[in-house]
Chain length 510, copies 2
């Protein structure tokens, strides 16, 4: 079987007819894949990369010094692992900073004096317990990415809505000059489908609250845990339009607010968010165009490493994960695990006595969290090389077991996909035949141009307990699950990088 | 059967021979207890008190305005519940304050420039990622109660020990001018027995570290969870002797430190604890004697309420829990649940058509957390009334199911205890026959004088996940477990308050 590749690079279009040798016999391939899986299931390679990242760098929010440190770490790690080429590509984005954030709630009922029939003894002691001012409870909050500052202390009554739709339906009078509280709870599912339903509170809430005349927004964390650790995340950062200062409260705090709101007294919240984009112009009129060198613009880097294949071919697999994390945790599951998996699996394949025909390109994307800046920059820079991207995959949903995979490939790739399904089945991974894989936030930017992709889908039941919180740390990663992931990745890489199938281009329209 | 009671109060010793009527027939008692259990298992009474406390007051560290609010709340709640008498008794203690606390760890390996053979492209981008100063990771810490201040920023290399014994065995040279890290992990057990083994790091560690010339102490949290929520708690607060500033790191942070410490680079920690007793004299030479009215001395109150029994008797049951909490959570499991249970169970008994013979005294103790000040003050004030205290019990280990009970009573009380065992057995509660009940931290102060006690022992498996952390919130309490607790408490109260047995005095010597 022959493969015709269209390589378009640097404005130069070259047509190369490459006649590849025969693929290894299936029995040989099966034996190699089985050996790879066994090695991966006994390997600490991904764990060691992940532990290195979380201990030596830790939190690495885009645009911070720790983000720079992460880029240095990644370049050095790729070199140490023996990648054939390592380079970086700049990624620019507006600089959002979190300096401090705090909130208290005031809801103290028993302020009235004792009843008239109180004994003298009661009155005596009770009067000793004077309170000069209201006593607040601290709330565990974190500002949403993209939030403007409160300009110091902001205090107002809380008005609660079950959903964003309920807020949209509310009258201005009910919301004006209040702090809106959106209390929608995210449901827990294996596929993480509850996220899409509730994340709209975070992405759209600050804009809707502003339209209604609110002073600020509190949302129940978009997360499935019951810890006093709020979930941060971006509001629709690149969108123009007025937004209010906005923060997430932890689920236990949200529950506590609901108890208070069921009472008869007003619930008053005091917030102080010292956060924001470094120039207000950005907030009010975002264009995604920034002047080079201003402090309001930050630069980070996509870090890219390649291992060559055994044949002299232009095409390669694109393996992606994002290097940045939010600032609250150490970014172990989001997305240190992905970083470790794509690096470790590429390395395992490169260390084979005979490498597969195609090479692999590992891309560690910059600033996924604040708007997929790295993924978009990569797609823009490499769009003319689209046809060199044989197939892509991304790891960005934690480190729990992969339970399913799905593709977006041409029908003629079916023999290879069937072979992949057979081998992944041994790892407990079922095939989803919809052929509607998305490719992930970053790698998916190339899929939108027509690059075929495969999704190796992780169990997300636990992911949204930890996602974007201080609890995203190494101890949450189960070594045996990480190994199962690694086994799936080497299986995918080996079989596709040795395949003579045409996977794409796929229809970029949907 | 007759009962002879010695009532000693206010310096006056009176001998009262009280001849009680016959106890209700067993069948009647059984029917009443069964009805009480059914009511309790369907009751939200404890939950409502607990939700009121956690929403209207929340965190209530001893000596804070919130502690005063809690006293007001408790007096009002007891009055609202219809207690026959409500009063307060002052409790004084040194004022320890937590103003702010933070720490960072510095452990960044890849500071060296790229290798000489780096490509021009690599060098160009890598050099762009300059770091002007070391990048630290924030540590989730909380100061230990009783800690002195660091007087601003304190920075030193970390030296780790597996146990306090290992620190004690270390040479001065290894510890001097460093920050000690005690990494002992608390094991999880149903009876909470791992606590005693590891809490010594917290209570004694700061003193041992000072002896060895350390600058400060970090301990792995005395807790069984994996959340970024450190566990606070008191060092041996009333002990004189030099101590270093001390804080607990969360378990995930401790794990992260262990990864760093396994590396080759030094691990440097920067701490800033703005905490301490309000006068240093206290720290250096504690005497438990304080001048009335100084700001270094705080006053709180034991809040006490009584329901009378049906007979005109001087004796009563002592039901205790502590009203104060640490400042990080809302004190739902420690000890809001206990407060709710003793109030709700006393109320259920008082609402019976015919009350049992003896009355109940509910004591909500002040400042248990910082040194059992309320329990000790109560025992001191009421020691001459010892014989009025028929039997005592305390609830202070959360709100999970009671699985066992044990007593410390005279052998002649066996018929009542056997009856109690039979009824508690219906709630899944087994009898521990050791007869070595402790009575709890506060109520146990009277046990040490000879008062008989019963321990209703809760499953503590989950308790030390939450204990003394921000995660101690209402959502952690399972309504059905709280109801089972309530059913056990009303069973205990009814059967002992209607008994003609002599439970004590018990031997105070052990």
């Amino acid at each position: 079987m022959k493969r015709i590749s269209l390589v378009m690079a640097s404005g130069l279009v070259a047509v190369v007819a490459a006649c590849h040798g025969t693929a290894p016999r299936n029995e040989t391939t099966d034996a190699i894949v089985e050996q790879l899986q066994q090695s991966a299931l006994a390997s600490d390679a991904a764990w060691e990369i992940l532990a290195s990242l979380t201990s030596e760098v830790g939190p690495r929010m885009a645009g911070t010094p720790a983000d720079k440190l992460a880029v240095r770490w990644a370049v050095k790690k790729m070199r140490d692992l023996g990648f054939d080429r390592v380079w970086t590509e700049p990624v620019k984005f507006p600089r959002w900073v979190r300096t401090s954030e705090s909130a208290q709630v005031f809801y103290s009922v028993p302020r009235e004096p004792l009843a008239d029939d109180a004994s003298e003894m009661e009155k005596r002691y009770y009067n000793k317990v004077r309170l000069r001012k209201p006593v607040g409870q601290p709330l565990a909050i974190t500002a949403l990415g993209g939030s403007p500052t409160t300009n110091g202390r902001l205090e107002a009554e809380l008005v609660q809505f079950d959903t964003l739709a309920a807020l949209e339906a509310a009258s201005m009078e009910d919301v004006q000059n209040k702090i809106v509280f959106l209390s929608t709870r995210m449901p827990k599912t294996r596929a993480g489908t509850g996220y899409r339903k509730t994340v709209i509170n975070r992405s759209r809430g600050p804009f809707v609250a502003a339209e209604k005349g609110a002073l600020a927004l509190l949302i129940r964390s978009v997360g499935t845990d019951n810890d006093r650790l709020p979930h941060t995340g971006m509001m629709s950062g690149t969108e123009s339009g007025e937004r209010v200062p906005a923060a997430a409260v932890s689920n236990p705090d949200a529950d506590n607010l609901m108890v208070m709101l069921a009472g008869e007294e007003p619930v008053v919240v005091r917030m102080n968010l010292d956060v924001g984009f470094l120039v207000d112009e950005y907030v009010e009129n975002s264009t995604e165009e920034f002047t080079e060198g201003t402090s309001a613009e930050a630069t980070s880097f996509n870090v890219i490493g390649e291992f060559d294949g055994s044949a002299d071919l232009t095409e390669f697999l694109l393996l992606g994960a994002h290097l940045d994390s939010w600032d609250l945790g150490t970014g172990a599951i989001d997305d240190g695990a992905g970083v470790a998996l794509v690096m470790a699996s590429a390395k395992m394949i490169a260390d084979l006595p005979v490498r597969p025909r195609y090479g692999v390109r590992v891309v560690l994307y910059a600033n996924e969290e604040q708007g997929v800046y790295g993924g978009k920059a990569y797609a823009k820079l490499h769009q003319l090389e689209l046809d060199s991207h044989l197939i892509g995959a991304e790891s960005d949903l934690g480190a729990d077991r992969i339970y399913s995979f799905r593709t977006r490939v041409l029908p003629q790739a079916e023999p290879t996909i069937a072979q992949l399904a057979r081998h992944l089945g041994k790892l407990g991974i079922e095939r989803d035949e919809t052929n509607l894989a998305g490719g992930g936030a970053d790698v998916g930017q190339m899929r939108k141009l027509g690059m075929p992709v495969i999704d190796l889908r992780q169990d997300a039941s636990r992911y949204f307990d930890l996602h974007h919180t201080a609890n995203d740390t190494l101890d949450k990663v189960k070594p045996e699950s990480l190994r199962q992931n690694l086994a799936a990745w080497v299986t995918f890489i080996y079989l596709t990088a040795n395949s003579v199938a045409e996977f794409g281009p796929v229809d970029p329209s949907d």
